[in-house]
């Protein structure tokens, strides 16, 4: 171990190493491992894989995970189409307001999730929203129904695909696309044969990041899910509700699934990352 150390690690270096390891262990590694342990062995409740499975297959939990996956799926689909489209427009086209647009599309990530929820309520709630009267006349419900959850989730994860695709598009340039066009390919052929293969890994990376963010969204979803006859309890809201209803075992079971999903996303991201580099 120490013999492979390239530079001399003096007492200061060793102290820094120790401080970092202890800090990260106490702040992250230990607490996360306790959550996993609590999922299998909750305080004052029957433990084991069977009990965990039972808690996860309870009707509330099944509904919550189903709703989370539905909302995340549509939010990711919308963000991917929008993200790839707007990236192509921003990098490949010149139009007035292009610079302003490229700054604005990065904005949603820096808005607090609670404010995102508030913003959507102020615009789309039938009671007090700007579009409230139109929505209640046409009978469309957004706040307190699945479309509202999808919009809140799409809002908070909006720039993730764009942030990955724009740098790749800028780096590869237009030579291959222009060559394809000059050889007689139409716009659609050029997109599917040339552009999409070059940005493929960037899109995959952005989709994984968006999906992880979408599955874990809590604040924005909590505010827009309030509806009289709608059960908007997603997986993250289920964790909060169960924990506050003193059913900690159920909260830890659901949290375990989300911890595993987060770890999976981290692994996929590390696997996808180098491929993107070798591609370009």
């Amino acid at each position: 171990m120490a013999s492979r150390t390239r530079q001399r690690t003096g007492p200061a270096g060793l102290t820094a190493r120790l401080v970092v390891v202890v800090y990260l262990f106490l702040l992250v590694a230990w607490p996360v491992s306790v959550v996993v342990q609590r999922a299998f062995d909750p305080v004052g409740q029957p433990g084991g894989v069977g009990a965990l499975w039972e808690r996860l297959s309870a009707p509330d939990a099944v509904y919550a995970f189903y709703l989370t996956l539905t909302v995340a799926f549509w939010a990711v689909v919308v963000n991917t189409i929008f993200g790839v489209g707007i990236s192509l427009l921003l990098v490949r086209q010149r139009f007035r307001g292009r610079r302003a647009l490229s700054v604005l599309v990065d904005l949603p990530m820096s808005v607090s999730p609670v404010v995102v929820g508030l913003a959507l309520v102020l615009t789309y709630s039938t009671g007090l929203g700007w579009f409230g009267s139109i929505l209640s006349e046409t009978g469309v419900r957004i706040i307190g129904s699945t479309p509202g959850l999808i919009m809140a989730t799409a809002f908070v994860s909006l720039p993730l695909v764009i942030r990955e695709v724009v740098p790749v598009l800028e780096e590869v340039g237009t030579d291959a696309e222009v060559a394809a066009r000059s050889l007689g390919a139409n716009a659609r052929q050029t997109f599917w044969r040339i552009t999409l293969p070059t940005i493929k890994w960037a899109v995959v990376y952005g989709v994984v990041l968006s999906a992880a963010r979408a599955i874990g969204e809590y604040g924005a979803v909590r505010i827009v899910s309030r509806g009289a006859e709608f059960n908007g309890e997603t997986a993250t809201l289920l964790i909060q509700n169960e924990y506050q209803a003193f059913d900690e075992a159920a909260a830890y079971a659901a949290a375990f699934v989300l911890v595993m999903a987060a770890l999976l996303a981290l692994v996929v991201v590390t696997v996808v990352r180098p491929q993107e580099g070798s591609e370009s």
Partner: protein, 278 residues
């Protein structure tokens, strides 16, 4: 080269003005409508709702004792967390880049975990070790220490991940030159290393600060939400929304936004000063 020049001619004539074809015009139109409906109009609604009552309403909301104390608590905690992140984030980045030891790769995953975990799970994660039923006998629920801990958790990666790439690029030759000219390690650190890292540290610090003042999910289970004591601004916004007072909620939201912008400007100035001094 003939194809090259003709290709250059095509792009050359095309990029002189707007290059939008009919198809991309429609695409841009659809994208702008969606972006406006999803982001721009709702955010405008927040600003308008906060300001339509005029200055007096704005001021009345912010001078409510509980709201004022929530904002003060949020800003103070965010500042403390940012200071800890500046020190610890830089040290962690330093150890990850310059030190070699067994298990260092595992630390990289540990640092990314706070970003990958859903915020509500982050709160539960901390409660499992530092909450009721704590195996170590520490209980931070309903305390300001609990808020501090949760904010420390969710902001961990910012400074580390902004400083790390700069530190990798930093040339070890300059440090060795300074050392060979008789500079002590402390002088090298102060005169060579820290000035080059300052812009990255400031960038990471402003991200961490902005995240800390707007943090919500990880605090819901920990903070306990006692008005005037452990209620932070984001939870105050939630309370205003739930009690049917959207104007007050929007006012607090706009104020948080202004504080975040001010912090970014101040940190940018500090980092420029530090970089110039080096």
């Amino acid at each position: 080269m003939s194809t090259g020049t003709s290709a250059g001619a095509i792009t050359g004539t095309a990029t002189s003005r707007s290059t939008l074809t009919a198809g991309s015009r429609i695409g841009l139109g659809i994208a702008l409508v969606w972006f406006s409906l999803l982001v721009l109009i709702p955010l405008a609604a927040v600003v308008v709702t906060a300001t339509e009552g005029g200055w007096s309403t704005f001021w009345d909301t912010l001078s409510d004792p509980d709201t004022a104390s929530a904002i003060r608590l949020t800003v103070v905690e965010a500042l403390l967390v940012t200071v800890v992140n500046v020190v610890m984030g830089t040290v962690i980045a330093w150890v990850l880049v310059r030190d070699r030891f067994w298990g260092k790769r595992a630390l990289e995953v540990v640092i990314d975990l706070p970003f990958a975990l859903p915020t509500i799970v982050a709160g539960l994660v901390l409660l499992s070790l530092y909450g009721p039923d704590s195996p170590v006998g520490v209980n931070v629920v309903n305390t300001r220490q609990g808020i501090f801990l949760a904010l420390l958790f969710v902001t961990l990666p910012f400074v580390v991940r902004t400083v790390q790439p700069v530190l990798i690029e930093l040339d070890a030759d300059v440090e060795e030159a300074a050392a060979s000219l008789g500079a002590t390690r402390l002088t090298t650190l102060r005169r060579i290393i820290l000035p080059s890292l300052a812009p990255a540290i400031a960038a990471g610090a402003s991200l961490a600060f902005a995240r800390a003042i707007s943090e919500f999910g990880s605090l819901v289970l920990i903070a306990g939400n006692q008005p005037g004591r452990t209620e932070v601004a984001s939870l105050k916004i939630l309370k205003y929304v739930e009690t049917g007072n959207p104007a007050a909620a929007a006012t607090v939201a706009v104020l948080l936004l202004l504080v975040a912008v001010a912090a970014i400007v101040v940190l940018d100035l500090i980092s420029r000063r530090a970089a110039e001094r080096g």
